[in-house]
């Protein structure tokens, strides 16, 4: 084996996120150690795996069989690794195998045999396989009639679960307990959907997972088991998860462990595999007659077991098996310190487990099972407020966009850390954001991201633990632990004054042990966070620094993997002192803060070596590469809160902190850390504040004679309307100081402004609302730069394809900025120089401009590494993160980046399909979950590759065009001609149809939904008659006001997304797409590696 092709996972999306950057990166490292070359295909430009230090050759191309086949033909690899790039890579591999590409090119599939992978992907066959090896799976069958369903239901035994088909998205599903109920619900469901699923109902079963590793010599170990806080019914990616399991006895733990090993062996897995179980929390409760191969001959009634000499039997079912690295395996890897992906990579090369050393301890073997002496809590991070109209409830499909992992010595300490890590403005599990008892109960009963807080609030209000258990199925064990926190808070509140508290050092320590933050304790006592901190200083109450060593202290391990706890009185490590430099990570991935900041963080940490500094990363996101064991000299899996960061800073006696490369979360700490006296490397906190404070920044721009859109703050409706009238609509409105929820909006008329203004004032009366003039049809341009002591050292300019008004995170971005005229380009650089100098910028920054009629306006300045940092670095070949570190040590040279002979286009990845109800339209607020970027000789080539990377598939040449507004129609007419000439069959709604008819283009007329005729436009989409939908709407159709009315536009967009059809809602990007299709056929798109485009320094 000399050359391996590794498939990446592409853009980050809901259910497939940063964890595959981690697994791919580890695999590449493992291959490299064996002297094997890795060819990587991954269009996700923000990843760390697509760095020149890792893969030997990188192709920023779609992970689809067509492209991969061409890369195989060009590169002629010996083997292909499919298990490190999530479902995307696995599916692509199966396709390549089925097409015979692998055989033809003599490419060996490494690790688990492809036949096993295919088996695990086929529900029925896999279920049959498991039954053969005496493993139970829940019964489930699709039926087409009530009678047929009833027969199955009776076979399974009531209660059963009825699930309607996918298109209804969980509606019309439900649990039925008898024949009568079944008939009622099934009938209703079948009237909507041609078939329904009748499933065995595993009410409130525990959900348990095992991560298993196997080598080709049949050595098989389980690295970790995990228990879901939420019972079955909530996807494991949506659940709070603890590791190891807390409520399982030895028998349960090892019984399921054995089963997972049996499954893995039966499949011939080589590498890593994840097995998920449902476990009856009380098998005495199980109803008779259920198929359970383990239960033969055993009475399930509790009392009988006691008298019997026979070992008890468990009622369990396998829910899912992933024959690849997964989200859970990334979590398990971070939770245990065991480098699962690294080990899996070695195993697929055929190495025995016994030949691999434990990289964490360096003294013991990889062939073992980690023993934890701590508990890990994972909580998903949701961002549902960011999606208009999206359902808030959580359930069997994933909606969360990221996660955090906390480590501690008790559940109380750890879960309180975890909720703070979420960065959602809460400081502990007791947060009263509920209206009344009824509201609390509602949030306990219906699972949403707020359930944990509702449960705690319920406990506080005196709801019984048993009742909460009955409603939620959350094991009493967890509920009692939460109660312990609630009780402690109650006691704290009864203390009253700080004077009394100061008498009890033990009391404060006890609160810290239960995970209370200084701030929360202060709030309860009417004191500030710093006052509590002073008290801690006085009593020397500081958290201990413990290491994650994989074996509970049994051997002295050389690990740098750390966490803090108040359940200790020693430290496992000594401070690094002046040699150490803290780099703050990004925290959980969420809309707007994702893998790109991890790239910056990792690159900065690694570059510190050049200056003989030791990097200390603080981060709490298990999906990241920055939290890998070998990325930094020290890693704290910790909160990015002021309290914890300063605890670590003071313990380490570090020289300084870098907080400008982890996105907004660490950046937000700048002024507080500065005031506290922490030395911050980079731009001064007061200067950062200049850019963050709208008033100050606006004054600065005026002083520097830099243009900006007119804006003002308002607290009352009247003057707001007057202002809008004066500057003329549209205007951009943004409430200040609210949580991520309701943020920016474009208002096109008075009615909209009134409505948004009213909402904004309702949300927050104390803070004014900012309204600015919105310049229509302006071009948006971004400059990323790094300055040293106010002098610009390196910069790059890119422009958006979409007109201003689409959030920069959702925009299609082109480098170089080929649409910026020379004059504007000069003005942009001059502006950047002026601002860098005025704010004495020392480090990375990003400016967003609007350009219209050769006038350059500044919209925003961020004095930190931006989202586009890795994109720009890889597009230009200059690593901006490295330059940033050079700046910190005053050693940066001047870069002059030459205008390239290639184009790079970054395209957003949306996950609307996962978010039931959300309106998939581009707006001023960001909604994309990831991005890709591809290279090409022209923008069209690069764009087409990018689109194909985000799922565009044009198998059929049919398109639906619905174009609102005369302007759109005129601007898009030429493109429609082109589509027609390309042989596209076009469908159009009435106005568009008439318009095109007048221009001599024939389209097939389809009626709108409200017209009442069938088939209507939604039917056309649902029947998949079209493979492309271009829906250009008039102003404001995507606004909340409109979306609530479920316009035709909304219905078209939603149906398009739900049916997995390519959707374009922006004029400019739709035009570029058509141009690209006009210029290029699939085979014209060149297979060129990154190195063939860019000379990297």
């Amino acid at each position: 084996m000399k050359k391996i092709l590794l498939l990446g996972s592409g853009a980050l999306k809901i259910s497939q996120a940063g964890e595959f950057d981690y697994s791919g990166s580890q695999a590449i490292k493992a291959f490299k150690e064996e002297g094997i070359k890795t060819i990587l295909i991954n269009p996700n430009i923000a990843t760390i795996q697509t760095s020149k230090e890792l893969a030997d050759k990188i192709y920023f191309l779609p992970v689809t069989s067509e492209f991969v086949e061409r890369v195989i033909e060009k590169e002629k690899p010996d083997g292909i690794a499919l298990s490190f790039g999530g479902q995307t890579a696995l599916n692509c591999g199966i396709e390549l195998y089925k097409k015979g590409v692998l055989k033809k090119n003599n490419v060996k599939v490494l690790g688990t045999p492809i036949s096993s992978i295919i088996l695990t992907e086929d529900r029925q066959k896999f279920s049959d396989h498991l039954h053969k090896i005496k493993v139970s799976t829940p019964r489930s069958q699709a039926v087409k009639s009530v009678a047929e369903g009833l027969k199955i239901a009776q076979e399974i035994g009531f209660p059963v679960m009825i699930r309607a088909g996918f298109s209804l998205g969980g509606q019309k599903s439900g649990v039925v307990k008898d024949k009568k109920e079944f008939e009622k619900v099934a009938e209703a469901a079948l009237s909507f959907s041609p078939q329904i699923l009748v499933e065995q109902y595993l009410h409130h079963y525990k959900e348990i997972e095992y991560e298993v590793v196997r080598d080709r010599y049949d050595n098989c170990v389980t690295i970790c088991n995990m228990e879901n806080f939420d019972p079955l019914g909530i996807h494991t990616g949506e659940s709070i998860v603890v590791a190891p399991s807390q409520t399982l006895t030895n028998f349960e733990y090892h019984f399921l462990r054995k089963k997972s090993i049996e499954i893995v062996r039966s499949l011939g897995i080589v590498g890593e595999c994840n097995v998920q179980f449902a476990l009856n929390p009380s098998f005495a409760k199980a109803t008779e007659g259920r198929p359970n191969p383990e239960a033969t001959g055993v009475e399930r009634k509790g009392e009988k077991i006691q008298n019997s000499r026979q070992a008890p039997s468990l009622e369990y079912y396998v829910i899912e098996v992933n024959a690849r690295l997964s989200r859970s395996s990334a979590l398990a890897s971070k939770a245990t310190g065991y480098p699962l992906a690294y080990v899996a990579a070695k195993l697929i090369l055929g190495k025995p487990l016994t030949s691999i050393i434990n990289e964490v301890t360096k003294v013991t073997q990889a062939a073992f099972e980690p023993a934890l002496d701590y508990i890990v809590v994972k909580i998903p991070r949701w961002d549902m407020e960011k999606f208009r109209g999206a359902e808030e409830t959580i359930g069997s499909s994933m909606k969360s966009v990221g996660e955090v992992m906390a480590v501690g010595r008790t559940f109380e300490e750890t879960i309180q850390k975890a909720v703070r890590m979420l960065d959602i403005g809460v400081h502990g599990v007791i947060e009263n954001k509920f209206i009344d008892k009824k509201d609390i109960w509602r949030h306990i009963k219906i699972p949403t991201p707020r359930r944990l807080f509702a449960v705690c609030q319920g406990i506080k209000k005196g709801f019984s633990i048993d009742k909460i258990y009955q409603e939620t199925g959350i094991d009493r064990w967890f509920l009692y632990r939460l109660k312990n926190i609630v009780d402690a808070e109650r006691e704290l509140l009864s203390v009253g004054t700080i004077h009394e508290l100061s008498l009890h050092k033990d009391k404060l320590l006890n609160l810290k042990k239960l995970g209370f933050s200084d701030r929360r304790i202060g709030e309860a006592l009417g004191k500030t966070e710093l006052e509590i901190r002073k008290l801690r200083d006085k009593w020397k109450l500081r958290p201990s620094v413990f290491s994650i060593d994989t074996l509970a202290g049994e051997f002295p391990a050389k690990t740098n993997y750390l966490y803090t706890t108040y359940w200790g009185n020693h430290h496992d490590v000594n401070p690094l002192k002046k040699d150490g430099l803290i780099v703050l990570g990004s925290g959980p991935y969420r809309i707007g803060s994702s893998v790109e900041f991890d790239w910056s963080c990792v690159n900065v940490a690694k570059s510190l070596k050049k200056y003989k500094k030791k990097s200390i990363i603080i981060n709490c996101n298990p999906e990241t590469v920055s939290t890998d064991y070998d990325m930094s000299d020290r890693l704290y899996f910790e909160e990015l809160t002021f309290e914890r960061v300063t605890d670590i800073y003071e313990f380490e006696k570090s020289s300084s902190i870098i907080l400008s490369v982890g996105g907004q979360t660490p950046n937000n700490l700048s002024s507080r850390l500065d005031q506290y006296g922490v030395k911050i490397l980079g731009t001064k906190a007061s200067d950062i504040d200049y850019a963050e404070n709208r008033n100050k920044f606006s004054d600065l721009l005026d002083r520097l004679k830099i243009l900006q859109p007119v804006w003002r703050n308002f607290s009352d409706m009247k003057s707001a309307l007057k202002f809008a009238e004066k500057v003329s609509y549209p205007v951009l409105i943004r409430p200040s100081y609210v949580l991520s929820g309701l943020a920016m909006n474009l208002c096109y008329d008075e009615r909209e402004l009134r409505s948004f203004m009213k909402r904004a004032i309702e949300i927050n009366r104390r803070h004014p609302v900012t309204i600015s003039k919105f310049i229509t049809n302006a071009r948006e341009v971004e400059l990323d730069g790094v300055a040293q002591n106010g002098k610009l050292k390196v910069y790059a300019i890119a422009n958006h394809i979409e007109h201003a008004g689409v959030h920069s995170g959702d925009a299609t971005i082109v480098y170089p900025a080929e649409r910026v005229r020379y004059f504007s380009g000069v003005a942009i650089v001059e502006t950047a120089e002026k601002l860098a100098e005025a704010l004495n910028i020392n480090g990375p920054f990003n400016i967003q401009f609007m350009v219209k009629d050769n006038k350059v306006y500044v919209i925003e300045l961020n004095i930190r590494a931006s989202r586009t940092f890795p994109f720009i670095s890889k597009a230009t070949g200059v690593n901006f993160a490295e330059v940033t570190v050079d700046v910190f040590f005053n050693k940066a040279k001047d870069y002059k980046i030459e205008y390239p002979n290639y184009v790079v286009v970054k395209a957003p990845q949306f996950s609307f399909a996962r978010l039931e109800g959300a309106d998939p339209v581009l707006r001023v607020e960001m909604a994309s979950t990831g991005e890709v970027a591809c290279f090409g000789e022209t923008a069209e080539e690069a764009y087409l590759k990018s689109l194909l990377s985000t799922g565009l598939s044009l198998k059929k040449k049919t398109a639906l065009v619905t174009i609102g507004g005369d302007e759109n129609k005129l601007h898009f007419a030429e493109s429609i001609w082109k589509l027609k000439n390309l042989g596209f069959k076009l469908y159009a709604t009435n106005h568009t149809h008439q318009f095109l008819k007048s221009k001599g283009v024939r389209t097939k007329l389809v009626s709108k939904v409200y017209e009442g005729k069938r088939p209507n436009v939604v039917d056309i989409i649902e029947q998949k008659k079209v493979s492309l939908v271009i829906n250009l709407s008039v102003k404001g159709d995507g606004n909340m006001v409109a979306a609530e009315r479920k316009t035709d536009g909304y219905l078209i967009r939603r149906a398009t997304i739900d049916n997995n059809i390519a959707l374009f809602t922006d004029l400019n990007s739709a035009r570029l797409l058509v141009n690209a299709l006009d210029k290029y056929k699939l085979d014209d798109l060149k297979i060129k590696s990154w190195e063939e485009f860019v000379h990297t320094s």
């Binding site: 006895t249 030895n250 733990y253 016994t354 062939a367 099972e369 002295p556 359940w567």
Partner: protein, 351 residues
């Protein structure tokens, strides 16, 4: 109530009691398993030892009926944990861990920093220690006594049906060794450690020497019995203490490990293969000198200590780990099958 854990080297840990409040001395050891405290506490091999659990949260699923225990009582001299959970949640739980400890008169303490305590034992080796309430007690080295006498019952019992008759020499046997054998359909005669098995007047097809507490060299009578078994070429399986006894009887030697192996994640490599098994272990002593005629069977992948021996010619075998598991992984259950297979082969030869 506050009390102290005092180590022989003078280190003192303040603890909060959740067990029986009586001062007790013993040998302080740590175990790294994450599940199975009821099984561990009732494992007779812990006789005389104060056990530190490295897993920080203990008591989660309460205490089940005696049926699930590994012997009829708690054998540890004391229990040390980080956090004790008094609100267990499990449908098989019949009482809290605290209630149980109190009932069985065993002290239990929550101490400040069990990780530090573990590191101390790891670096300095297992130590004598005492849990002290009001009244002080003297340090007491359990390894100086023959602990086996405290760990076992004195009755001969007969259980199960089958074509093979196995004698189990009980030096402090874990219930699951008995269960594992009975599941494999044998006629099982359990005898005390010092019982003369040849006085049974039975045709013995095989002998299993169980696990048990303390220094193997204190079990003189059992060693003598084993010598006779070897001489008579009766198939023999030694487990844990039984492994050490076999080594001593066959002319090998044993020694005390620095801090022992106690956990559920010990990797053991079967010699001359690439196979590695994850095993449950609980021992402070190990085989040093391999007896003549035997070869190493298993070796610990982490510290390379011997984990089992097998005779080159005769069906004598023994393992340092626990094939019966409980608590811990069940990967090496096949040892019982292998042993019984050997017996079948021998029986065939005789026929």
């Amino acid at each position: 109530m506050q009390s102290k854990l005092i180590l022989k080297d003078g280190s003192t840990f303040i603890g909060r009691s959740f067990g029986y409040e009586e001062s007790k001395a013993g040998e302080l050891v740590f175990a790294t398993g994450m599940v199975g405290y009821p099984e561990s506490l009732t494992d007779p091999s812990y006789e005389g030892q104060i056990l530190v659990m490295t897993y920080p949260i203990i008591g989660n699923y309460g205490v089940p009926e005696k049926f699930f225990w590994e012997s009829s009582r708690i054998h540890v001299a004391g229990l040390i944990v980080n956090q004790y959970i008094d609100t267990p949640s499990h449908f098989l739980s019949r009482k809290t861990l605290s209630t149980w400890l109190k009932k069985e008169k065993v002290p239990g303490l929550m101490v400040e920093d069990t990780r530090y305590l573990t590191q101390l034992l790891r670096d300095k080796g297992s130590q004598l220690a005492k849990i002290v309430f009001k009244k002080d007690v003297a340090f007491d080295d359990p390894n100086k006594r023959n602990l086996v006498t405290q760990a076992v019952t004195l009755r001969v019992t007969r259980l199960g049906k089958g074509s093979k008759t196995i004698v189990l020499i009980d030096c402090g046997v874990k219930e699951n060794i008995r269960r594992s054998l009975l599941q494999r359909n044998v006629r099982l005669i359990t005898v005390p450690w010092d019982f003369d098995i040849f006085s049974l007047n039975e045709k013995i097809d095989g002998v299993v020497i169980s696990n048990g507490p303390g220094d193997p060299k204190m079990t003189g009578v059992t060693i003598e019995t084993t010598k006779k078994i070897l001489a008579k070429k009766i198939p023999l399986l030694g487990i844990c203490l039984g492994n050490q006894i076999l080594a001593l009887a066959a002319g090998g030697d044993t020694y005390k490990l620095k801090f022992g192996h106690r956990g559920q994640n010990q990797p053991c490599i079967e010699q001359n293969t690439k196979r590695c098994y994850i095993t449950t272990q609980n021992h402070g002593f190990a085989i040093g000198k391999i007896p003549k005629g035997f070869k190493p069977w298993f070796v610990n992948a982490n510290d390379k200590t011997n984990e089992g021996i097998i005779h080159e010619k005769y069906p004598f075998m023994s393992v340092q780990f626990h094939p019966e598991a409980v608590p811990g992984p069940v990967d090496t259950e096949w040892i019982f099958d292998k042993f019984l297979d050997q017996i079948s082969k021998v029986k065939k030869l005789i026929i």
